[in-house]
Symmetry: C2
């Protein structure tokens, strides 16, 4: 379809929240009760049936803040030919991040999430117009086209557009083979997290682990940080289920100070843990670097990224040699634009990308991202988290093969579309769940998710 | 007043915007047109006439996002005795930053601004209840009381509560003398920025400079980054007006990449510039460190901070020896709580604090902060930006003495209160200005402040 003939004519923003806290899904030491939530944007066009969908992720309370931010940015892209936006997506990103609104929060926080939702909708629209899944649209780019999707501002001390083109030319030589593997669902191995949420009983964890091993999983990540004894017991359950060849990772969601992280993890060295995820503040680049250096002699690596907001922070985490895995998040960065920048930076430093996808819709988006990384950027196989809840809500749900590989997306677009039937129940506040007594009780509690903290 | 008898009973949040872009106030290379704006919170109490006011700062578009965020957090502190909040402000801060809402944006961006507004209102209420200006309330704290106001999470690798108490005991020995100086308006020397905004003609700059020299100013900061020739001309106007003993600073508001900053500034070395402010992304700790190291042989320092969102980022800027001045912002951090943490960190590293106060109400808040630093924390005199617009809007306006010193605040509270008469004109969208043809035109332009960027 000629992108010059497509114009965005209007948009809607909806506040969608699943009451996931009721099932203890997504609980961790920092987030004791969360409702997987979307600020959900749809751009309508002059072409009947052609809609661009983009969303960004929140955790319940505050999703209205995200929706307000999306409503503020979304009008900027109305009434212009789609081609004028896609011709230079790096510039489109920079424009969206400029202006009065930039001052509040330059490339961070809620506004970064909102920018991501807007750009996700444009990428989705573009891919649908080209009748390709998003990963394929990007994989088919020339090196120059891919680089034009990136805003290189603040990166040139580490990576210039010219160097990026050079890197892409090199990996491009074997792209055809990897493309074939992607088409055969052999691009992205899955790992499992669903078994590890806090809030599940030991029996439940054992049951979920057994299922996961049956499904072919060999990588397992557990929430930890509940005290050495409790952690040892839970990690022991996993070793029992997966044997010595299984790969263990642990995640503490930012609860420690730097020295605390080092001291605690040293005492788990015998359990052979690949990495400790989010040991401390996601902003603490130098802290992560120090933890990594201190734990290296114990064979334990460091990972972070799900709360890292922009390419400048990832640039430094890589410069400081702070990471063994780059856990970029599909919504925390400014959409595919900035994700491509981080994929290139990671490839340059030789650090594998292991996207964060622990939430509704995250696997749907990340299966595109990991496929792009494998086929078109690093050219190396990495793993991708597979969480198994709420896929049924999506028009193009993520799935895994019987041998534990992610199914490569085939539907045109970025797999963002949520089934319309979901909104009747879970749109907030008008959906039937949120009008129920339980829903109202949850909405009216400003302390939800801070269990045990509301009393002083 | 017994803080146990005071209870917050209700709150209001108002969106206040001054159309400052019409006078080119606050323009810079990154922010081409801004409207100084507040998300304005007032907590009413059971005590007639006792109201806690707190606000956070935005730049026009997006102030509704800030207000939505404040409305989400503010209910958490209703219906509890004020004493239960003030007894441990560090814990109160941590609670406000926890829960579902934390996930979107941990200690950054719009939610950090909203947290600041809520805590500013509590500090204002506390100081009013004690019938003291805020700076005095804090200056009268014992070391233990001051330390209890801080959340030390993520700081202990550099500063522990025990070390902080030790530092405060040491500076406390000479506190009485400095308190006396504060009471005599001899605590905080002012420096001038109003002459340096982009958008003013040369004649206007010359006129403003002449006035400033008359007022006793010797420190001048100019916006720069418009090209070497233009910058040299404008900086030359200042040298002409203030002579060799004047202190020059320049600010480019994040427009450069790391190497670009180094190359550009080297070429201004002969103009004897104290520091280059915000040379690159405010998130680029390692970049600032590299710029500082490269410019040191040229006698040029580096400063940043107005966009630095939390103590963890400042901790690292100091650890990396990236700064010659800590330009913390009164609203960008989580209120006095986190500001005290950054004052202590700066004192520990021996780097002067030069708060950012370029916007409506900023001088009002920062004169408290700089006074606290001088009297109670570092014990050292530093300078504070004085911008001379919009003071008339405040109940307790900031002012300077004829010899260029900030007047130490005397009114009880944190000087946050805006005169009620201002809201009739500038509350958005219902104030008379925002209902006028010009106001509506400005509000309806989603690209405002991105001059020249909206066309692709």
């Amino acid at each position: 379809m000629d992108l010059n003939t497509i114009t965005i004519t209007s948009f809607t923003v909806r506040d969608l929240r699943w009451p996931t806290s009721l099932d203890a899904i997504g609980t961790d030491p920092m987030n004791l009760a969360g409702e997987n939530s979307f600020g959900y944007l749809q751009y309508k066009t002059n072409v009947p049936g052609l809609i661009g969908t983009g969303w960004s992720f929140a955790n319940g309370q505050g999703n209205d803040v995200l929706c307000t931010a999306i409503r503020s940015l979304a009008p900027r892209l109305l009434n212009r030919p789609l081609a004028s936006l896609t011709a230079n997506m790096g510039l489109t990103q920079r424009k969206l991040q400029s202006g009065q609104i930039r001052f509040m929060s330059p490339e961070r926080g809620v506004l970064q999430l909102a920018t991501c939702a807007v750009l996700n909708a444009i990428w989705d629209l573009w891919a649908k117009a080209e009748k390709k899944p998003l990963w394929r649209l990007v994989a088919d780019f020339s090196p120059e086209e891919l680089v034009r999707a990136i805003d290189f501002r603040y990166l040139s001390d580490v990576l210039t557009p010219e160097q990026a083109v050079e890197m892409l030319r090199e990996t491009g030589k074997s792209k055809a083979e990897r493309l074939q593997l992607a088409l055969e669902n052999k691009a992205v191995p899955a790992y499992n997290t669903s078994a590890g949420w806090l809030g599940h009983s030991d029996d439940k964890v054992r049951e979920l682990l057994g299922q996961a091993v049956q499904q072919g999983f060999r990588h397992f990540k557990l929430k930890a940080g509940l005290g050495l004894e409790v952690d040892r017991k839970r990690l022991g359950l996993v070793r029992e289920a997966v044997g010595d060849e299984g790969v263990l990772m642990v995640d503490v969601n930012q609860i420690w100070d730097v020295d605390e992280a080092i001291e605690y993890m040293k005492q788990l060295a015998d359990l052979k843990i690949w990495f400790i995820e989010e040991p401390t503040s996601p902003d603490d680049i130098l802290g992560h670097a120090r933890i990594r250096a201190a734990l290296k002699p114990y064979g334990i690596g460091v990972a972070t990224g799900e709360h890292v907001n922009n390419r400048v922070m990832f640039k430094q985490l890589l410069q400081a040699h702070a990471l063994d895995a780059v856990q970029l998040d599909a919504c925390r960065l400014a959409s595919i634009n900035e994700i491509l920048a981080v994929l290139l930076l990671s490839a340059k430093f030789g650090v594998p990308v292991v996207p964060h996808s622990g939430g509704a819709g995250m696997v749907e988006l990340c299966s595109h991202i990991s496929t792009i990384d494998f086929v078109a950027v690093s050219g190396k196989k990495s793993i991708l988290e597979y969480t198994d809840h709420l896929h049924e809500a999506f028009e193009a749900p993520a799935a895994i093969t019987p041998d534990g590989m992610h199914v490569t997306p085939v539907a045109p677009g970025y797999s963002c579309d949520v089934k319309e039937s979901v909104f009747g129940e879970f749109e907030c506040p008008q959906g039937s769940f949120w009008r129920s007594a339980k829903g109202l009780e949850m909405l009216n509690d400003p302390w939800r998710g801070t269990l045990g903290e509301q009393t002083s």
